[in-house]
């Protein structure tokens, strides 16, 4: 009902990722999980970063929050500007202050995000009191209000529940309640509904949309699901093999994808709203990020690829020049041109 409409993108930029480069050490070598990623999250909007597993979208989220695995992950270049402050240079203490209060996060698996031996109400209380000098009973009342806000029936009693006593959908609602407890400006939601059944997913997305509307917060949604993006996000950034290949308003990108990967994915998806037939497919599989192809990373799977694509990484540019969509493809002009 209350899905956020497309909002003006001229609103102030809250979070700006500039040319971010993140490396992760793996058993097989060092991978560049994010390679020159730039995006802007404006006030009061939902921006979705969509991509397949291993494309680097979760590492992008962790980079923003300063939560990369300590020994194996590092930001090697670029900036994460939150209200102008570069978080890549912030002290651990400053990052702790920001996380939860200014930028909150919801993970895919609520069971790992909640303490298994602590009642959910207490966890929210603790979260509030870690950041604010609130009295226990006042924090407690707020916790119950929050549970009510995210649509948990009988919130007074449910606050006394342990996580294992709640269903998957309820746990994810508790996570949302915790995330919005301190009224953060930015909510980063990493696959928030992927573990949920489809009817429960619909409920939780509805709740997220309503709450982001109520609180005037912005959401950075990380997902693999183009259907969820279509129903929920204002703008979309498509990520492939560590790079953003296309970025723009959802209706624009879905209506006329400019990157062959976006076009291929949208065409190859079995759709609930489509008559069955043979699915056009994308050949091959995503590249190994330890030794990615030198030019465009999609070139080995792309039917439009020429010599330049195999040698030179494409620049990110506006296409068409007067539109709102940026694309990183040498042949964007030809995509969808038949």
């Amino acid at each position: 009902m209350n899905a956020p409409g497309v909002r003006s993108s001229s609103a102030a930029t809250l979070l700006s990722v500039r040319n971010l480069r993140t490396e992760i050490d793996t058993e097989n070598g060092t991978v560049t999980a994010a390679d020159g990623v730039s995006l802007d999250l404006h006030g009061d909007e939902v921006l979705a970063v969509v991509g397949e597993s291993g494309c680097g979208k979760t590492m992008l989220a962790l980079s923003i929050l300063g939560l990369l695995p300590r020994r194996t992950g590092r930001i090697v270049d670029g900036q994460v500007l939150f209200r102008g402050e570069d978080l890549t240079q912030a002290t651990p203490a400053r990052l702790r202050e920001i996380r939860g209060a200014e930028i909150a996060m919801i993970f895919q698996d609520a069971l790992t995000g909640l303490h298994p031996l602590q009642r959910v109400g207490d966890q929210i209380v603790e979260m509030i009191r870690a950041h604010e000098p609130a009295r226990r009973d006042a924090a407690r009342r707020r916790a119950v209000d929050l549970l009510d806000l995210v649509g948990i029936p009988d919130p007074d009693r449910r606050a006394e529940s342990f996580p294992h006593e709640l269903s998957g959908g309820m746990r994810q609602r508790v996570m949302i309640a915790m995330a919005v407890a301190l009224d953060p400006a930015v909510l980063i939601a990493d696959e928030p509904t992927t573990a949920l059944d489809v009817t429960v997913q619909a409920q939780v997305l509805e709740t997220l949309a309503r709450i982001s509307g109520d609180l005037n917060g912005s959401i950075l949604l990380i997902t693999h699901d183009f259907g969820v993006v279509a129903g929920f996000a204002d703008r979309v950034a498509v990520m492939y093999a560590g790079r953003l290949v296309e970025q723009g308003p959802v209706a624009e990108v879905y209506g006329r994808p400019r990157h062959p990967y976006t076009a291929g994915l949208l065409a190859s998806m079995p759709r609930i709203d489509d008559v069955p037939g043979r699915l056009p497919r994308i050949a091959g599989t995503p590249p190994n990020l330890v030794s990615p192809p030198p030019g465009c990373r999609f070139a080995p799977r792309c039917s439009l690829a020429g010599d330049i694509c195999r040698e030179v990484p494409p620049e990110t540019r506006l296409w068409p020049p007067d539109g709102g969509v940026t694309v990183a493809c040498h042949h964007a002009e030809q995509v969808g041109a038949g």
């Binding site: 899905a3 619909a202 409920q203 079995p270 709203d273 497919r281 599989t285 995503p286």
Partner: protein
């Protein structure tokens, strides 16, 4: 590109045991009736599958669709007797499977292939692909034929014969699922049961596997029982669809009937909950929002098990459990009000 007269198909028939003539009458390939599996815990009985009946004709595809815990995977395991049913009957080519001895069941299994969801868990990492694929062949195949047969099925699923020497870890997820399909096909089954075969795969790889399954169905005249939580995928693959809720089938019909004219409120709710990749649909206001969550199968509601989430529920629904009764031609629905409800079809 072998047609129905391929060597593979002959192999399938030679070992089919009975009913050698495909045109010999209306016996369905698979007939499941009153199938049930109850698990007893100390406090309660969990009815994972509770009276499931359907038939599947040779060469056709049926989708079993529902949310987690609805009993769709348990149904598959009961058919294969990887689990022993509490009650009910499974007839394959007219032959009752539930009473076969383990030895007899092993022979029948060469006719029943299965592909599981997770190709990372289902392939033994210490075996070469040749041995993975040959696993089901050993029971009855002369050793000398095995290499030839492995190469044949690998090629059939789009993998070069040289893959036989490789190990699972050298493959991508999509390639692994091809191997899992090759393994299921190797003994020449006539029924292929696919349990969430593309759920663990990335979108760009899903289409490859779905197309492969469609090709196999046509080329080998395979019969497919396709189990999935994903209504978009089922719509793509299956000619007929059965919707399950808490251990029971609540609606079964052709693809056109179930998606185009759903008659059970649960089916309609499922269809409307699937997000279509089309931003224009966001505000069309036709979403059916279910309140509440799936009831616990340990303590299901009385009467219709969907009534606690159903906007149309009436007193009758709490008192009496609705039967799965036909609406129109071959479109049974288990809802007291199936004839009257204004329900929205898939977008």
């Amino acid at each position: 590109m072998a047609g129905p007269s391929s060597p593979h198909h002959d192999v399938a028939y030679r070992h089919s045991g009975e009913d050698r003539n495909p045109g010999s009458g209306p016996t369905p390939l698979l007939a499941v009736e009153g199938l049930a599996k109850h698990f007893s815990t100390r406090r309660a009985t969990l009815k994972a599958v509770d009276g499931v009946s359907f038939t599947l004709e040779e060469g056709r595809s049926l989708g079993l669709v529902g949310e987690s815990g609805c009993g769709k995977s348990t149904t598959a395991r009961l058919i294969l007797r990887l689990l022993e049913p509490t009650a009910g009957s499974v007839r394959f080519r007219g032959r009752e499977l539930t009473t076969l001895s383990q030895a007899e069941m092993r022979r029948v299994r060469s006719q029943l292939g299965i592909v599981f969801q997770d190709p990372y868990a289902s392939l033994n990492p210490r075996m070469t692909l040749r041995n993975v694929v040959a696993e089901g062949l050993r029971v009855w195949h002369p050793e000398a034929d095995i290499d030839r047969r492995v190469a044949e099925v690998l090629e059939r699923v789009g993998l070069a014969a040289r893959f036989a020497r490789r190990y699972p870890h050298e493959l991508s997820g999509g390639q692994r699922q091809r191997v899992a399909i090759a393994r299921a096909l190797a003994p020449g089954p006539s029924l292929l049961i696919c349990d969430e075969p593309v759920s663990a795969l990335d979108v760009s790889v899903q289409a490859q596997i779905l197309n492969l399954l469609a090709d196999l169905q046509h080329e080998l005249r395979l019969t497919i029982l396709f189990i999935s939580h994903d209504l978009a995928v089922v719509r793509h693959v299956c000619e007929r669809v059965a919707v399950m809720h808490l251990g029971r089938i609540v609606e079964i019909g052709t693809r056109a009937q179930v998606y185009g004219n759903p008659r059970h409120p649960y089916t309609a709710a499922l269809l409307s909950a699937v997000p279509a990749p089309d931003p224009a649909r966001r505000h069309d206001g036709r979403r059916v929002q279910l309140s509440g969550e799936i009831p616990s199968p340990l303590d299901p509601p009385s009467g219709c098990t969907f009534r606690t989430r159903c906007a149309h529920a009436a007193e009758l629904c709490a008192a009496t459990e609705p039967e799965l009764t036909p609406r129109g031609v071959d479109h049974p629905v288990a809802c007291h009000f199936a004839a009257d409800l204004p329900l929205t079809p898939a977008p």
